[in-house]
């Protein structure tokens, strides 16, 4: 019973984080601040939601697979953010002088 309640609370918190990520990509006016904010909030929401699911299932193969997915996403999500930002920088899309 308490496990079920904890699951519901964690998944709701994850949804709130994702809501802020979606607000972030509409609120900021230039590309670099959008990419700084949104991808990170995404990852936080993802991990919270997955933690909720893991608590629901306990120690089974289901939750172990979910942990595997979490590990893959935590490694690949910053890599693709990095690739997009680097491609924008090298193409010369520049906002402010370097220091």
């Amino acid at each position: 019973m308490i496990r079920e309640a904890l699951t519901v609370i964690l998944i709701s918190i994850g949804l709130v984080f994702m809501l802020f990520g979606v607000i972030g990509i509409f609120r900021f006016k230039d590309f670099y601040s959008r990419i700084l904010i949104s991808s990170k909030v995404e990852t936080v929401g993802f991990i919270t939601l997955m933690a909720g699911v893991v608590i629901k299932y306990g120690f089974t193969y289901f939750s172990l697979k979910i942990l595997l997915i979490c590990l893959v996403v935590v490694i690949t999500n910053p890599l693709s953010t990095h690739a997009i930002a680097r491609s924008a920088l090298i193409s010369g899309f520049k906002i402010k002088e370097e220091k």
Partner: protein, 162 residues
Amino acid sequence: MKKVINYTTMIVIFTILWVILNESATLFQILIGIIVSIIAIYFTNSYLLLDDYIAYYYVKTFVLIKYLIYLIFQIYKSGISSIGQIIRGDSKVIIIEYESCLNDELSICLLANAITLTPGTVTIDKKGNALKILCFEGNNEIKDAFDVEVCSKFEQILKGRK
């Protein structure tokens, strides 16, 4: 001797992955897993890499766990600070350069990965051990963390990789 222990750890980790993907932990399945992981490591060693597998990709298990726990703590810290940033809506971006005190490839890549996930920063470019970091202008937290002479916490953790 050290090499044997390292390879055994890798084989154990790969076998655990095999068992998770197959969803059954019978003796037969574990045996197949061990054989498949030995073949995989041998193939990677002899055909895909110039050097040994261990020299490139080995991270001590203890260091990896410490890194992951500290990373998750930092991710949550960063998520909460980003929400404040979204509500305030200020958006002045600058690029700073940061020289890391690590000097092997995998550690620098892990550091860049961690920087991308921590508050208000994205790594953009890497040349040797100098990283270009994109961050918000008025963010004092970053200045404290990266303008110091000594290594940051992540680097201290990653230094004991081998």
